[in-house]
């Protein structure tokens, strides 16, 4: 992502006598010619040119700008070809005017933008796209879903909003928002007081809004990650909020203040799923890099990795005792491991579907596992042996929202087309309700 991208629109009428300005002279060049490889999710050479601060910090080879000394600055040496490889690497060198502007700015002290300029640069990063209205009547979509721990509501993550639905009538009790983009991750705190709504702008930044469920006000907004957030989880004691993102990172935050506590790095691809163990001592993550990892959330240390999956993981679910984890994803297979202290052991696996598995949910009594998949089926399986109990096929759309009610008697299924269905667990059949058609 780049906060600088729309700075392109700023006039570049520069008078040679004007003192060099980062915001006016340098930021547009970076946005146009460098940000493709040195910003957002891609930071080649670990060099982030997104802000003045990150630029001055440098990258793998150290600082790239030595204030006052362009001839010693790596950035200048590379754009002039004095140091290989010449930058930008797309084969077209910067114009003489641009190189001169950068040189001038470095020699003048490589000064940062003023706070007002910096704020405008940040804002400009939210690319203003033309306004195109959908031509079809669109039901509010459901990107994520979570049952309130005491069954008081079902939270539905939508586009820039979260809707709270009454689980008996299906009526929308309240709408929370605004959010930056689709809310792709939802989690209630164990005491049911807080709702964390994770989302953000894909390929730009992540955002979590923590809502007071009773007051329906937003307590904290967390801005973090370089891409949107795909999973949020409260630790059972409510002291931590874990987030994971397409940017391959997991972060742990203090939900009360929104301050970042630590970053867990080890995954090498988007991290789509998170879960805390019931005792809060372990955090389990699942990622597109085909692994499930188990961490100590207190220290951020990765304890071990489960690598049996043959393709990316989309979802995981811990059993109610927290001793087993089920994970599924692109290889259409559900695998269950036992979670040990220093390692996990695979207990069972089943090629359950004909297309990617989207969401797994473990019933509160530990007996049933439910999986939804891109093949538009929903399967109920016995957790003990992954025996198929029931299959619901011809689902109207992909279901990213699959969750059991706290009493285990109801299964809610929320789909991308906005349809929400409640299934009665005792009869394992489609109950009458077809809420929010």
């Amino acid at each position: 992502m780049s906060r600088l991208s729309l700075v392109l629109l700023w006039p570049l009428a520069v008078c040679p006598q004007d003192p060099p300005s980062f915001a006016r002279d340098i930021a547009p060049i970076i946005a146009a010619r460098c940000a493709g490889c040195h910003a957002g999710g891609v930071k080649m050479g670990s060099l982030d040119l997104d802000t003045h601060e990150s630029l001055m910090k440098g990258g793998t080879h150290g600082v790239v700008v030595v204030p006052g000394h362009s001839a010693e600055s790596r950035l200048f040496l590379m754009i002039t070809g004095k140091l290989a490889p010449i930058m930008p690497m797309d084969g077209t060198q910067l114009s003489a005017g641009h190189i001169a502007a950068i040189q001038k700015w470095i020699d003048a002290g490589a000064n940062p933008p003023t706070p007002e300029e910096a704020a405008r640069l940040r804002e400009a990063g939210v690319a203003k796209a033309p306004s195109i209205q959908p031509k079809v009547a669109l039901k509010p979509q459901i990107y994520s879903m979570a049952y309130h721990p005491r069954g008081l509501s079902i939270a539905l993550g939508g586009f820039k909003e979260v809707r709270l639905a009454d689980p008996r009538t299906g009526k929308i009790i309240h709408t929370l928002g605004p959010h930056a983009d689709a809310v792709r991750a939802l989690a209630f705190s164990r005491d049911g007081r807080w709702l964390a709504a994770g989302g953000g702008l894909p390929a730009r930044r992540g955002e979590v809004k923590i809502w007071d469920v009773v007051e329906r006000t937003s307590m904290v907004t967390i801005a973090g990650h370089d891409d949107c957030i795909y999973a949020v989880a409260f630790s059972p004691d409510g002291k931590w909020l874990a987030t994971s993102s397409y940017d391959k990172l997991i972060k742990i935050w203090d939900p009360a203040t929104g301050s970042e506590l630590r970053t867990l790095t080890d995954h090498i691809d988007a991290v789509y799923a998170l879960a805390f163990s019931p005792d809060g001592k372990r955090l389990v993550s699942g990622a597109a890099d085909r692994t499930v990892k188990v961490w100590d959330p207190a220290t951020g240390v990765r304890l071990y990795t489960l690598s049996e999956p043959l393709d990316g993981i989309n979802t995981l679910a811990l059993d109610p005792t927290g001793t087993k984890v089920a994970a599924g994803g692109m290889d259409k297979t559900i695998r269950i491991w036992s979670l040990g202290e220093t390692g996990g052991r695979i207990l069972d696996s089943l090629i359950a579907h004909e297309d990617a598995i989207l969401k797994l949910a473990w019933s509160p009594d530990g007996r049933t596992l439910v999986s939804s998949a891109a093949d538009r089926t929903l399967k109920m399986l016995r957790a003990a042996d992954l025996g198929e109990v029931q299959v619901l096929s011809e689902q109207p759309d992909w279901a990213y929202g699959v969750d059991f009610s706290p009493d285990g008697k109801t299964l809610a299924v929320g789909r991308l087309d906005g349809s929400l269905t409640l299934l009665s667990e005792t009869s394992f059949s489609l109950s009458s309700e077809r809420l929010l058609p």
Binding site: M1, S2, S5, L6, A35, G36, C37, A39, G40, G41, V42, D90, A127, A129, P130, S131, I132, Q133, P134, K135, V136, L138, Q141, Y143, S144, F159, K160, D181, A182, R184, P202, A203, R204, C228, Y230, Y246, D269, A270, Y272, A288, E354, D355, A356, A374, D397, W398, Y400, L416
Partner: protein
């Protein structure tokens, strides 16, 4: 009156100035839907040459309420009806009928037919970007959109729908990234004000509808101009249309991928604008929606060729007609006919892999019959060595060797091939021998083919390359990027060979081949088997218990199967002419056009018409004047190694060289495990140790690819003939020809005469006669005992023979 006489006068003088005319392409236009567009071309045609004058013409629409035309010749529908659009230029005009339907009809962009082509043309799903096996940055599309259903899921739903925002279309990640509104490793692919943006944005705004099973599909492409002779440095816009299975036709030029097969002759940009860079012929290939086609564009060489050269060129058969037509269109003059000495040597080597003996050469040179060449050809084709040579060639093709099947199985395999050649078995019967037999591989040697290729995938890829000249491998994982073959067709084809059963027979090396009652190969993504179908042939039901190989064999050997016939015609042609009509010789694909398509088509038709008779094909080729041209270049064709205006020089294959050396030296090569006197060309097994053969490019017969046999020069080869034993031992053998000549006491000039006749199939010229004889004679004057003199003489003769047998004139076929 006088004005009218001028053209007559001009014709009388031979100016042949035809009246130029204006032609508008395409000839008819149907526009359906409000988004239909058609680019017209205005071609200025003067004689054989045409020029793109689209931008110079004045374009008008008779009824702008139906269709409007802009100054560049682009049509836009306005209202339903029929009208004419006319181009005016320099007093000439030409019109095209335009019919508009549904100009105001509701319209929606189709994912399959608009969104995927846009993403393919703008490069999103190319192999270097999101079409790569692992995609890029977690976003993976199928290569060039070969699977729209999968791509739709990826774009609209994977990763919790991060890429497309139905509620706020312009905020969709794919639009923001592609227009570089946010950083994108792939750069800016299109602008927000482009048609490409509009297609994607409007499709998203319509709810991002998926591809439907009943979407119309592209059936074929057409290109304008399909072929043209252009002026040097000409610019020519190409227009491409796609025909759909509902009969509709749409201009798809904008989203076609263009490439040139010869940048030196023609270059083409992304918009289909061709620039002729040089002289000659180039094929600009087009790819759209996994369909391929090409346009042939020519700038004749600017040689001054006397037209009488073409009329005087002797035409023995249709090969000469069509070859000459190509030279005429290119302005290439054919070289003169080859001499008798060049011809006899060439004919023996190309058809039978041996040199004519000195006697045979003399007899031929002294023969004064008018049809002596034709008779020579007939004689050579009846020789045993002919059968050896072609059996060897087909053994290369079918990978005959003891490596995987052992000698016990190799011999029946080889013998079946040789017997087939000897009896001139037709090529379709040859193929049927393999694909319709069952039982013992000892009784039916052909069945060893299945023993060699036990794996279904291996078998199907080998079959297509060996018998159809198609390289299908790419389509195993995605639609073939260079061909019209899809992954679906790949697995349908492979499923024809999934029931070949093999079990050990009683005797060593014997395998019983039979058709199993069950067995299928699954499509890797659908995880189920597909109906077996031979490429674009008729499918057979999955549950049929007929031998699937029979279904394949029927399609393969059908008289309608162009691939089968073209593939073998190309191989045989390439053997004689030094270059296949399609090059490489086993790459007869749609995007690899022939250097003379009319000739290729005619040869194929003639071959099929004569029942796939190989000898008939060979006779047709060898008897043509084209085959019999000299290899000496004239002023116009020094650089031509493509159009056969002269005989193309080729280095002899390893086995032929070895046998020829043995023949001239009179000393056969010893091959371990084989009887003395056996020639290299008679060996059934390439695993017979022979450093000479390996060094000179004998293939290993592991992979069925014409490129496996190499004729590249190497240091090893040079060192081998300089220092190695193979040749030197033949020359110094006590029972060889050289020793015999000395023993017989032949005169120096006799020895020179005989050696040159044997090695080069000609008499020595005056200078050679004189100087070589002198060199030999000088050795008689060595000082010393008679022993020493004999030794010196022997060495001199050996040196002479060595210099002949390592010369280019010996090692090359000219």
């Amino acid at each position: 009156m006088r004005v009218a006489l001028i053209p007559l006068f001009a014709a009388a003088i031979g100016w042949a100035q035809p009246d130029p005319r204006l032609v508008v392409l395409p000839e008819t236009v149907d526009l359906s839907g409000p988004e239909a567009r058609q680019q017209l071309l205005a071609q200025w045609v003067a004689g054989a040459v045409q020029e793109d004058r689209t931008r110079l013409a004045l374009w008008t629409s008779t009824n702008p309420a139906i269709v409007t035309v802009d100054p560049t010749g682009m049509l836009t529908p306005a209202g339903d009806g029929d009208t004419l659009v006319t181009a005016n230029l320099d007093g000439r005009k030409a019109s095209v009928k335009v019919r508009v339907k549904g100009a105001k009809a509701p319209f929606a962009w189709s994912f399959r037919n608009h969104v995927i082509p846009v993403m393919t043309k703008t490069g999103c799903n190319q192999g270097a970007c999101h079409g790569a096996l692992a995609g890029k940055n977690g976003f993976k599309l199928t290569l060039r959109g070969y699977d729209p259903e999968v791509d739709h899921g990826t774009l609209t739903r994977h990763a919790v729908g991060r890429r497309v925002s139905l509620a706020d279309p312009a905020a969709s990640l794919i639009l923001q990234k592609a227009t570089f509104a946010i950083p994108h490793g792939g750069g800016k692919r299109f602008r927000p004000d482009s048609l490409e943006y509009r297609v994607l944005a409007e499709w998203i705004a319509a709810g991002a509808p998926p591809p439907e099973p009943n979407d119309v599909e592209v059936v074929s492409l057409e290109v304008y101009p399909a072929s043209a002779i252009l002026k040097p440095a000409a610019d020519q816009q190409l227009v491409v249309r796609a025909r759909y299975n509902d009969g509709s036709v749409h201009d798809v030029t904008r989203w076609t991928k263009f490439s040139s097969n010869n940048e030196g002759v023609a270059g083409v940009d992304d918009y289909g604008r061709v620039k002729m860079n040089g002289q000659g012929e180039a094929a600009v290939t087009l790819w759209y929606a996994s369909k391929v086609l090409y346009s042939r564009l020519v700038v004749p060489f600017d040689h001054r060729v006397d037209p009488s050269l073409f009329t005087k060129f002797p035409r023995s058969n249709f090969v000469d007609e069509l070859a000459a037509a190509k030279w005429k269109s290119l302005n290439l003059a054919p070289s003169p006919p080859s001499s008798d000495t060049a011809f006899i040597r060439r004919a023996f080597l190309d058809a039978a892999g041996i040199l004519p003996t000195a006697e045979e050469v003399e007899e031929f040179l002294n023969d004064s019959a008018a049809d002596k060449r034709r008779k020579l050809i007939d004689r050579v084709l009846e020789r045993d060595e002919y059968a050896d040579y072609w059996a060897y060639k087909w053994s290369d093709l079918l990978l005959v060797s003891s490596r995987k099947i052992g000698a016990n199985a190799m011999w029946p395999f080889y013998n079946w091939i040789r017997d087939s050649v000897k009896s001139n078995k037709t090529w379709d019967q040859f193929a049927r021998d393999i694909f319709t037999s069952s039982g013992s591989s000892r009784q039916h040697g052909a069945l060893n083919y299945f023993v060699l290729h036990k794996d279904t995938i291996d078998l199907s890829e080998n079959v297509t390359q060996a018998f159809l000249g198609q390289r299908l491998t790419c389509a195993r994982c995605h639609n073939h990027p260079l061909e019209k073959w899809t992954q679906r067709q790949y697995y349908q084809f492979a499923n024809l060979f999934s029931r070949v059963g093999l079990k050990n027979g009683d005797r060593p090396g014997e395998t019983i081949v039979y058709a199993k009652a069950s067995g299928d190969i699954n499509h890797p993504r659908l995880l189920r088997p597909l109906e077996p179908a031979p490429l674009d042939g008729q499918a057979m039901p999955l549950d049929s218990d007929a031998d699937r190989r029979l279904h394949f064999a029927q399609w393969l050997t059908s008289r309608d199967n162009q691939y089968f016939a073209r593939s073998i015609v190309n191989r045989v042609w390439g053997n004689f002419m030094g270059r296949g009509l399609c090059h490489p010789v086993d790459d007869v694909r749609a995007t690899n056009p022939a250097s003379n398509e009319e000739l290729f088509t005619a040869l194929t038709k003639d071959f099929i018409g004569h029942g796939f008779d190989i000898k008939h094909l060979i006779r047709t080729i060898m008897n043509s004047s084209t085959y019999q041209l000299s290899s000496e270049a004239n002023a116009t064709n020094q650089g031509d190694n493509t159009y056969y205006s002269k005989y193309i020089l080729k280095r002899l294959p390893a086995e032929v060289i070895l046998d020829a050396m043995a023949q001239v030296a009179g000393v056969p090569t010893a091959f371990a495990g084989y009887p003395a006197g056996m020639r290299a060309m008679q060996l059934p097994d390439v695993r017979v140790t022979s450093r000479f053969l390996s060094v000179f490019g004998r293939p290993e017969r592991i992979v069925c690819d014409a490129g496996e046999r190499s004729s590249d020069p190497s240091i090893s080869q040079a060192l081998h003939v300089i220092n190695g034993d193979t040749l030197n031992r033949k020359l110094s053998a006590a029972d060889g020809n050289l020793a015999l000549m000395l023993k017989l006491g032949l005169s120096e000039s006799r020895m020179v005469e005989h050696l040159i006749l044997s090695a080069f199939s000609r008499h020595p010229n005056e200078q050679e006669r004189r100087e070589l004889a002198e060199t030999l004679a000088a050795s008689r004057l060595a000082k010393g005992s008679p022993e020493v003199v004999r030794e010196t003489r022997r060495q001199a003769l050996e040196d002479l023979a060595w210099s002949l047998l390592t010369s280019k004139e010996f090692l090359f076929n000219h």
